[in-house]
Symmetry: C2
Subunit: 226 residues, 2 copies
DNA sequence: CGGCGGCTTGATCGGTCTCAAGTACGGTGG
DNA sequence: CCACCGTACTTGAGACCGATCAAGCCGCCG
């Protein structure tokens, strides 16, 4: 994994090679605000322990947030796609690291601005709370995933991804097998094997490594105990 | 598990056999408010899917919140002890069930009251957000637990419990081995075996099934990769 | 064409689950 | 006080699932 330039990342509003962009400021709601910023594949957006000065919204592409244990194991805590917000921590520093899965663009908001807005505007405060609550919900679902069998985890993962992408019959996965494995608490080999099993069982089709079709959603749903 | 009377649980402010109590109302902060209510061992406080009309604070005893998969597996998402708040859901209904681990007492707050208070008072709103954010943090740590080895999970669990109880050298566990197992995503046998292993290794002492002493915290910390 | 990264497949190992006894403890009744 | 019981916990033997180690395969780009 490449080592990105953190000083750039820590100050997205400065003019640097990455993306100047026209800065809108002081718009009414959180939705409209934000300075565009681009990242390359596998580039770090922020690191665990860094000051959580900014809040991000995915404009295009996908993001993974993860933690690394001191023995090197990585756990991916969540994936974020276009429209999702991430990086808003209760504390002053990020609890996880964030990386771009492919080339992508985010909108960046200043934490202090958002907090000041929330203090004056109850709607914004409620919106903040809602974002955090949704994260909590997602995290709890993720915990549930991790006690399932490999087949159940992979199935749940596919259905989750399908539910979050607009497409219904065909699924385009932006992330690698390793990312999926680290999200599901499995090895890359087990993920791969399980996908081929599901294909043999007629539940899915693997057109390419990252292109999945759903052939028999009944079979899939029967494999998901949530 | 006994089937408690849900109608009582759903309306804690009505006078019933359980606990009348003198109702304080309209105090300045969330901390002071709350109507006392008692529950017996293994009694349900609320069920998954029920209306989340109340917010709870543990006065004494301990609580487990959990979900049950349709095949019967149970996952405990969190334990709560004296001083902890729980049951506050972003949505209108509870995402998990809650049960008393032993006989216990909670303080009950009305959701609508708290929300109204938050709308007028920025401090209360921030407090609400803080509670949710802490839950998120706890949930993410829980996810991390679930990818560890059995020994690491049990060790992390003991250290977590030790950190949350005032006592430092000796730990009194209120929950059963089954509760621990369902929290850690292990079987009861594996939890039991791992505890005896830790005892043989000189890391802990098992005075009684639910009384643990820490003999060698260095060994314990070496077993915790977080 | 060669090389490399990402993915699949195979063979074996090991940790945890499962099934099955056995033990300790607390309560209840004699 | 002890006998009895039920519940919670421990311990053992074996099976199984997923990890590990190790090749191969595929697609992409130079």
């Amino acid at each position: 994994m490449p080592m990105p330039n953190r000083t750039l990342l820590a100050r997205p509003f400065e003019n640097h090679s990455r993306r100047p962009a026209s800065p809108h400021s002081s718009t009414a709601t959180m939705d409209i605000m934000g300075v565009p910023m681009s990242f390359n594949r596998n580039e770090e957006i922020y690191g665990e322990g860094e000051a959580a000065d900014y809040l991000y919204k995915v404009a295009s592409g996908a993001v993974r947030i993860y933690k690394v244990l001191n023995d090197g194991r990585r756990q991916i805590g969540a994936f974020y796609f276009a429209g999702d917000m991430f990086g808003f921590e209760p504390g002053d520093e990020h609890a996880s690291s964030a990386e771009a899965i492919g080339d992508m663009t985010v909108l960046v908001l200043k934490r202090s601005t958002v907090l000041a807005l929330a203090a004056r505007n109850g709607d914004v405060a409620r919106q903040l709370w809602r974002i955090t609550a949704n994260e909590l919900d997602r995290s709890q679902k993720h915990s549930l995933l991790l006690i399932l069998s490999a087949q159940e985890r992979v199935t749940s993962f596919l259905l989750e991804m399908a539910g979050r992408s607009c497409a219904n019959a065909e699924l385009e996965l932006p992330m690698s097998r390793q990312d999926i494995a680290d999200y599901l608490g499995l090895t890359i080999e087990t993920v791969s094997r399980t996908l081929t099993q599901l294909e043999s069982a007629g539940a899915i089709g693997v057109l390419a490594a990252r292109r999945i079709t759903f052939r028999n959603s009944g079979t899939l749903n029967r494999l998901r105990p949530c």
